[in-house]
Amino acid sequence: MDSRDWIRDGLRAVAGGLLAVPLAIVNIPLFVLFVVGLVLTPVLGIGLLVLPLVTLLIRLRADVSRRLAAGRGVPIARPYRPRPDGVVFGSLRHYQWVITDPATWRDVAWLLPGALVGLVLGVLTLALPVYGVEGIVLLPLWIWLGTGEYGYGMIWPIETLGEGFLSLPQGALILSIGVAAAPYLRHVDALFHRLFLAPTRAAELRLRVSQLTVTRADTVDAQAAELRRIERDLHDGAQARLVALGMTIGLAEEIVDADPATARKLLAEARESSTAALVELRHLVRGIHPPVLAERGLEGAVRALAMALPMPVTVTTDLPGRLDTPVESAAYFAVAEVLTNAVRHSAAGNGVVELWHTGQILVMRVSDDGRGGADPSGGTGLRGIERRLAAFDGTMSLSSPPGGPTVVTMELPCALSSPKTSPSSGTG
């Protein structure tokens, strides 16, 4: 790590400690309010209103901790059950939804220990840097006030100017130790919060199910749309052409004796029309599943794709075998889409595709030296890739600062299905 990164990270962690102290204190009234809301429930039903409100606040507070933890590299998913449809705030059903969600109780259980740990670790995060800063600013104070009943670090009390000067290196040392330690303290803090705030196994599974429901619906929609497109293309294109072809040949058959010259012209027309139908079918097939992908797998298909692009693209691969067909197809179209985007929008002079398989994940990195500034919310292309990959629990991340370079990293969890059978080239 660069020394400036180290300092920046440390200072950010110290700021996090500064934030952690008041946040920890907020937990205490939230806990009291929750208990009050619970107790008040039988009394005129006041709790019906108070408790959901307090729970809302608790969740907001827990979300803040989740976000802070994520910032320290400890992602914590939200464990709450989705709000049932048509539930009015303050109604009995709303109350039930809140009270029966185990995550609510785990949040409440977290409030006090979370406050304690947050406070202790927050103060610890702050104490060392603050003391270090004190050492550094002490010297001018000493010069101004002269000797007195105070000291610093190992020297107590400070009596001479020389001793006063010594507080400077001590302060600097303590400050740097404090800054260096702060990220670790924040990390421990985040880990503790995760104990309570992360979904339990059951909640995780439930979350997973709802996630799968969404991606499955997306996949089914996309497939249906794709089938409709193929049907339309076949119906309007090749099918219509073949009908016309049959008509032309039939006509030629009718007139071949009477007018051989025209019949010959019609037959030539028919042949051209059959070629046109073939071209259309070929494009259609390429859009569904490129032949080179079926024949050579992902590696060969990406190499072929790179050759066909108007921009020079370097392809490096480390794939010990073939992938499952659906994964291979998703991976190919994702890479193809990213490359097409790069050619169309980036004004890049060179592209690089890297494919490799680590353990159980296929990683595809596509980069270009173009102008950057790509934005997933800007176009449908990148969204489409995300959806395509999501069907296989894959992810896409994009780095594209203005001025470039653009790097798109896609990951697909998958196993290799079979060892590579066909050599990449017969003659090397």
């Binding site: 390429r286 032949p291 080179v292 024949e295 060969g300 190499r303 072929a304 050759m307 017969g426 003659t427």
Partner: protein, 212 residues
Amino acid sequence: MRVVLAEDLALLRDGLTRLLEAFDFQVVAAVDNGPSLLPALLEHRPDVAVVDVRLPPTFTDEGLQAAIEARQKVPGMPVLVLSQHVEPLYARELLTDRAGGVGYLLKDRVANVAQFVDAVRRVAGGGTAMDPEVVSQLLARHSSPLSGLTARERDVLELMAEGRSNGAIAAKLFVGEKAVSKHISSIFTKLDLPPSDDDHRRVLAVLTYLNA
């Protein structure tokens, strides 16, 4: 001329056999799968092999692989590869041995019988027959080193890469043969390729250059 044919679809295999025999070729073997292709080629040593890229049992590129392997064992064995689609990647693989006698055509081209038979004869004679679609893809891809060429020279280069002779290029472009050879020498000067008398070698040089 003796031909070995490899095509898995019976309809096309019979059609190709009929077509070739109508033009005085003798189909000495017609196989319908990958594993039996190489032995057939090595046994019959045909004047030309007409091979489908995709063959059973894997339905991948078995035909192409067998053709390349046969040419390693019998250098220069003329092979015309047919495919439902053309891929510059495959064209490059076929050309890497630089021995000539190679063709790579879309199956569609069979429909134009005269041109197809001409391509088979050209390959059998040690020339090349690259599908216009491959050639145009290659030219579109590597546009930068060719930017110095005039439009006419590009036309000539395209036809030359398909494997056509100077006479055929002249006829196609409605110019004299002299003009064509002038264009060609200009192309070689611009592309910095040493001149050679061997026609297909020049085409290979161009294609190899384009693929570099």
